[in-house]
């Protein structure tokens, strides 16, 4: 079964990234590297809510705090149930 980080990376690469050739790893800075625009982040928030049942509050859901899969996982740990990475 895909782990959480892989699911998020796959979603970002498949649905949000402007360059499908670029691999999204756990530490890929997908916003500051110009692969994903800030307006797409709401789709990532919805995905996290639907898939994992975690709602990231408004004040924490900034583009800077969601710039990589690793950062998103940090947010999910802070605001949701424990995330199983493996």
């Amino acid at each position: 079964m895909e782990n959480t980080g892989e699911k998020i990376a796959a979603f970002v690469q498949r649905e949000l990234s402007k360059d499908k050739q670029q691999n999204i790893g756990e530490d890929t800075r997908f916003i500051s590297s110009g692969l994903v625009d800030s307006f797409s982040l709401i789709r990532l928030l919805v995905f996290i809510e639907d898939e994992f049942g975690i709602v990231i509050p408004d004040e924490a859901a900034t583009a800077e705090a969601m710039d990589s899969v690793a950062l998103v996982l940090d947010l999910m740990r802070r605001f949701g149930n424990p995330v199983h990475d493996g």
């Binding site: 402007k18 360059d19 050739q21 670029q22 916003i31 500051s32 590297s33 110009g34 692969l35 994903v36 625009d37 800030s38 307006f39 982040l41 709401i42 789709r43 928030l45 919805v46 509050p57 408004d58 004040e59 859901a61 900034t62 583009a63 800077e64 969601m66 710039d67």
Partner: protein, 560 residues
């Protein structure tokens, strides 16, 4: 007698009703910080006192780089109270390269001879502003400013003195400053306000940044002049939580909003009804579409999505505005709705004519007007020789009014290019029909993405500076995408070696560099072999033929 300066308007509010709310500053966690005119004058005077301490005299430029906060409003208005000329710049995004931004900022500060830069500790530290000055400009940190009472400044300023500088387009170092006098700003707002059919119970809601004319004039200065409060959201948080704007409308019973076209699509497509609960949007009297081409389809989708929450189609208005006329040139309303018509596509493309047709009979384009001219605005549509064209003929829109800007600040050559015989040549293309003004595009290439302007030459210069890209051989193109209500950014660049065609590493470098220097994201990037791009007979790489070739060659799936 009516106040002749913005400063006098603010002080009039302060004397008559110091407790009246000017702005409700909404924080990302949902808390609201109301700022009264008493607060504006008290905190603004503290700022003005510090500006004076930095030897900023009336007429000197004060640059404000602050995040959404009460101090953003108070620093801006503090400069107005002190007679200095404030100019708000965007807080650098975390995506931007701080060293590069600092260099560009310093070049801008020197060019406009800014006496003071007001920012905060976080931004100052991000930009590495460790010394008390950047070039010749003093750095003031708003969060370190004393909170002790300061006397209300009493500068000698008159209606012809500048009240603000508006920098809105281009990379930081190349921005042109639109210089606006007190007279022009007050005249515009007093002429514009009746077109808005304001009642005694109004409240504006805004998520717009204050470095943009729509955020600054329509949603900050206009509310002061006409005396209506604003509920202001943080633009950066609105992007990830667009529902917050609709929740604010419902909670505070807001009545007016100005938004660029893409926001109608964004709100219609990205919010789930479950996020909205039982909100009510029926307090809204006007959703005013402005700042990028307005699409009737975006209005339809917005109404379809939100009619069940109380949005009425007659509250969707349009406006045509620009910083050089302070703000509005034309406006539609409930009484004069935007005119929507279908025009013959071929006649439009071949003959520059807007001939109405029935939409399903011949290939056609749907046009929506920006309303009728506001009082005090004269418009003519001209050809390349500045000759006036008849109605329904597409040409450049020129404007004459009592509320034109004073010129681009310290840039007489740019000013002379657009101001001739008291007419301002906007660079926008359009036509007049039945008293309505229709905007069809830009004379010069300008890419507008989500209400933000990019000059293609800025993008091309940056792309061509990257190792591996053929110098001087790239084009940046804006492609209209009705599905998202704004433009997509296409970049085509020739590479120096065949092996670099569509090279993933070089693609990543181009994307990262553009994000770091201009904070923009390329929707489709193509690294092409040398000589792929088409040149004109004069040897220039022209954008229109290359857009056509791109569409024919790649049939991009971003449009599907």
């Amino acid at each position: 007698m009516m106040a002749e300066t913005l400063r006098a308007v603010i002080l009039d509010h302060y004397r008559r009703h110091p407790g009246q709310m000017f702005v409700r500053c909404l924080q990302p966690d949902g808390t609201a910080v109301p700022i009264s005119y008493g607060d504006v004058v008290s905190r603004g005077s503290q700022f003005a006192s510090e500006f004076r301490r930095s030897l900023a005299h009336p007429g000197d430029i004060v640059v404000v780089i602050l995040p959404h906060s009460p101090d953003l409003f108070c620093a801006f208005l503090g400069a107005v109270l002190g007679g200095q000329v404030p100019s708000i710049l965007a807080v650098p995004s975390f995506k931007l390269n701080p060293g590069h931004y600092r260099e560009e900022l310093q070049a801008l500060l020197e060019r406009i001879d800014a006496r003071v830069v007001v920012t905060d500790s976080a931004t100052g530290s991000y930009l590495g502003l460790e010394k008390p000055r950047l070039g010749k400009s003093w750095i003031l940190l708003a969060d370190k400013l004393p909170v002790s009472a300061a006397p209300i400044p009493d500068p000698s300023i008159g209606p012809e003195d500048l009240v603000l500088l508006q920098h809105s387009s281009g990379s930081t170092g190349l921005k042109k400053g639109v210089a606006l006098s007190n007279r022009a700003v007050l005249k515009q707002i007093r002429e514009y306000a009746p077109s808005l059919c304001l009642t005694n119970e109004e409240q504006i809601v805004s998520w717009l940044p204050l470095y943009h004319d729509m955020g600054l004039i329509a949603c900050t200065v206009l509310p002061i002049v006409v005396g209506i409060p604003v509920t202001a959201l943080n633009p950066l948080h609105w992007v990830t939580k667009p529902a917050s704007m609709l929740q604010a409308v419902s909670e505070y019973r807001c009545t007016r909003a100005w938004m660029p076209n893409f926001a109608y699509e964004f709100l219609a497509s990205r919010i789930r009804p479950s996020q909205l609960g039982d909100i009510r949007l029926d307090s809204m009297r006007a959703w005013i579409n402005c700042a990028e081409p307005t699409l009737a389809g975006s209005h339809r989708r917005f109404v379809e999505q939100y009619s069940k929450f109380g949005v009425r189609p007659e509250t969707l208005w349009t406006c045509y505005a620009m910083a050089e006329t302070v703000f509005a040139v034309s406006q539609s309303s409930e009484a004069v709705p935007p005119k929507i018509e279908w025009i013959d596509r071929e006649r439009f493309q071949a003959d520059n004519l807007a001939i109405p047709v029935e939409g399903d009979k011949v290939p056609s384009l749907e046009m929506m007007s920006g309303g009728t001219l506001i009082p005090g605005a004269k418009v003519k549509v001209v050809d390349n020789e500045y000759k006036s064209l008849p109605g329904r003929t597409v040409g450049e829109i020129a404007i004459r009014s009592d509320f034109l800007f004073s010129g681009y600040f310290r840039d007489p050559s740019s000013t002379a290019k657009v101001l001739r015989d008291e007419w301002f040549y906007s660079g926008d293309m359009g036509y007049l029909a039945d008293d309505h003004l229709f905007i069809t595009g830009r004379k010069k290439d300008l890419i507008i993405i989500a209400g933000k302007n990019y000059y293609p030459q800025d993008i091309e210069r940056i792309v061509c500076s990257i190792q591996g890209i053929y110098p001087g051989r790239s084009v940046a193109l804006g492609l209209d995408d009705p599905a998202i209500g704004t433009q997509r950014l296409i970049v085509l660049a020739e590479v120096q070696e065949k092996s670099l065609v569509d090279d993933p590493g070089l693609c990543a470098e181009v994307r990262k560099t553009l994000a770091g220097e201009l904070d923009c994201v390329i929707d489709d990037l193509r690294l092409l072999p040398h000589m792929w791009l088409l040149k004109t007979s004069s040897g220039k790489i022209a954008r229109a033929p290359n857009l056509k070739r791109y569409l024919e060659s790649f049939r991009p799936d971003i449009l599907q």
